[in-house]
Symmetry: C2
Subunit: 376 residues, 2 copies
């Protein structure tokens, strides 16, 4: 019955002078043109937008979370129901995070060499996650790309704690490989080491020796600021294998994305487009606007005249303002459609500019206009 699944691979198409790069990731559920932004559907659901609308916005891959799904509804149930793709009605690639980041953000978690013990926020139940358990969950979910179980160190951290933690993360990376049971899922490594150059370099070297099909940079976007993030990227990307995709986790705003792409990042994810949408903040080529502000009450223009989304094609800012003033769910739905489309169209324009070897001028022109924040 089943046709043979396409294996995971990455083709680097264009490397713009060692900086921004164009590529294609192939997965069992289709190809992903990079640099790519992955919208986040943490609990196997994007917030306030249907999978059909996400696909129409141009998404080629979305992200979901092993930790959340293990707790509700359970990864075993999802497997029984045919896997995560079928469960959430999304037939394109999916990446699941390992749960590392989520667990380490919980208060009162206890880390030991073998794994982490924590209380589930939802119901207070004490539970435990190890590399083996995370791999089992992610194997059951069946995403195309899965992540090694890592420890995400808080910012700021001392060199000695970051070093101790990195050693653990590297051992857990090996255990993730050893316990990963499904060869149709690509297991990515996660670089840690906080803001310390020696640790980042040492960690990446050891991960490269383990030969992962892709490498993520974790432990950033935790409060360190853009300069620190870019400094770490400039340490990491030059020593990562050129022929493997590079994923910067949890990034970000349009300006962050431009900085990451410039430094050779291929994949990114963030909750920002849908999260901002729910608080009425919309992205435009002229900066962000908060459509619930009084100034938009009578504004007859669409959010962004250059946008081809359903919202911009059919509704005024005045209507969106009215929906938020009336607490209508439709407000969050229409703003989410716009923000997701804005991000994915933005990535299309980035890829096009790299193809033409014009990424630098695209970046400059975009930021000039975006930072003016003319609020047209």
């Amino acid at each position: 019955m089943e046709k043979q699944q396409e294996k995971f691979s990455f083709n680097l198409i264009n490397n713009d002078h060692g900086g921004a790069r164009l590529g294609v990731v192939h997965t069992p559920h289709g190809k992903i043109e990079t640099p790519v932004f992955m919208p986040v559907g943490t609990a196997a659901a994007m917030k306030a937008i249907t999978p059909e609308q996400v696909e129409r916005a141009g998404a080629s891959i979305i992200l979901s979370n092993a930790y959340h799904l293990a707790i509700q509804p359970g990864s075993e149930l999802i497997q029984k129901l045919g896997g995560l793709h079928k469960f959430m009605g999304w037939n394109k690639p999916i990446l699941t995070d390992s749960g590392g980041y989520q667990v380490f953000s919980l208060p009162g978690k206890k880390v030991d060499e073998d794994g982490v013990t924590f209380k589930v926020t939802k119901n207070g139940a004490v539970t435990r996650l190890t590399p083996e358990k995370s791999m089992q969950i992610q194997n059951e979910l069946g995403a195309d790309i899965i992540m090694a179980f890592d420890e995400c160190v808080e910012y700021p951290s001392t060199h000695s704690y970051a070093q101790e933690s990195l050693a653990r993360t590297l051992k857990w990376a090996r255990r993730s490989i050893d316990s990963h049971q499904n060869s149709s899922q690509a297991l990515f490594a996660i670089s840690q080491g906080a803001l310390f150059k020696d640790l980042r370099v040492q960690g990446i070297k050891e991960l490269i020796d383990m030969d992962f099909p892709g490498y993520a940079i974790g432990g950033l976007s935790v409060g360190e600021g853009l300069d620190n993030m870019n400094r770490i990227l400039e340490i990491c990307t030059p020593i990562l294998p050129e022929n493997k995709p590079r994923y910067l986790m949890g990034i970000g705003l349009p300006e962050d994305i431009l900085g990451a792409v410039e430094r050779g990042i291929d994949m990114m994810d963030c909750v920002i487009p849908t999260k901002f949408a729910r608080s009425a903040t919309l992205f435009t080529n002229f900066g962000k606007i908060r459509v619930s502000n009084k100034q938009y009450k009578k504004d007859k223009y669409p959010v962004d005249v250059n946008c081809d989304c359903y919202t911009c094609s059919n509704f005024s800012r005045a209507y969106l303002h009215h929906l938020f003033a009336s607490n209508e769910i439709l407000g969050a739905m229409l703003t989410s459609i716009h923000n997701v489309r804005f991000y994915l169209h933005f990535m299309e324009r980035i890829r096009h500019s790299i193809k033409l070897n014009r990424f630098d001028s695209f970046k400059k022109n975009f930021l000039d206009r975006y930072n003016k924040n003319e609020k047209v």
Copy 2:
């Protein structure tokens, strides 16, 4: 620039032995096959479903509310922005209610011969609605069908109060005609008279003398029960003009709709499909199911295997259960898509059965299955 707008008209196609009837209402924004169910978008927005999804579900007309829109964002602003159709991104027919029902449900309203004074729930502002004001608001909104300003009497009411109120409603009906300024909008009358036969008969006769293009039956579905409602319908519909559409306001559940259609009603509206959806209650051919109940946690089947909606085509009951367990907005979105489609498909089947002179057997078969509530 503008092409000449089609005027309002009603063609009666098939009158199934004096009971259920098939027709077509023509309006400036397109035709409406009757019997029709009108989904409700009170504040110029359907709840948790986009206009595109409502259209795809098969809606030919939706209902909005003059009272709510006069308060937020204001009917004058909507007129300035191009009218209600453009404002809410819905290019098919719209009916606006006059505000009568909403005002009379407010605590502390004061009725006099000229109109009603009340406090706006949202901000406590004291304001006033009269037939002239309601017509002005509805003219500014620009719906295809608008409603006379009436007094909706509470249940239960005395004969003397219902009589006094009816006299007022009849005067207000005349004043609604006299102040209505837009000939491309069809103004419907509203029958009142509570549960009193003499008042209903007298009122309808006077309204017929005023020659409205359509007649609504108001003051029902206020707690009087199905038997009382059907009794009043059996008084009203035989004396209403055969060549004018008949609109039963605020109805209802599938079983109520069947009873109304059987008694010669052409148009109905209700918030039930979207309201029930938001509390996880779904309509199926085998009765209602509450998908948040534990029994659906592992249920791999769609809500209704016979439904062609996006939700039933792509998602299991287990997934919907998970969305409600996770408080995901997508839960209400997907259940709203299903319930609206269920209602509109139900109306398609009713019209088809009338066409074939088989309404009675359709009704019996539907209710047999629906009332079994097999919860498959």
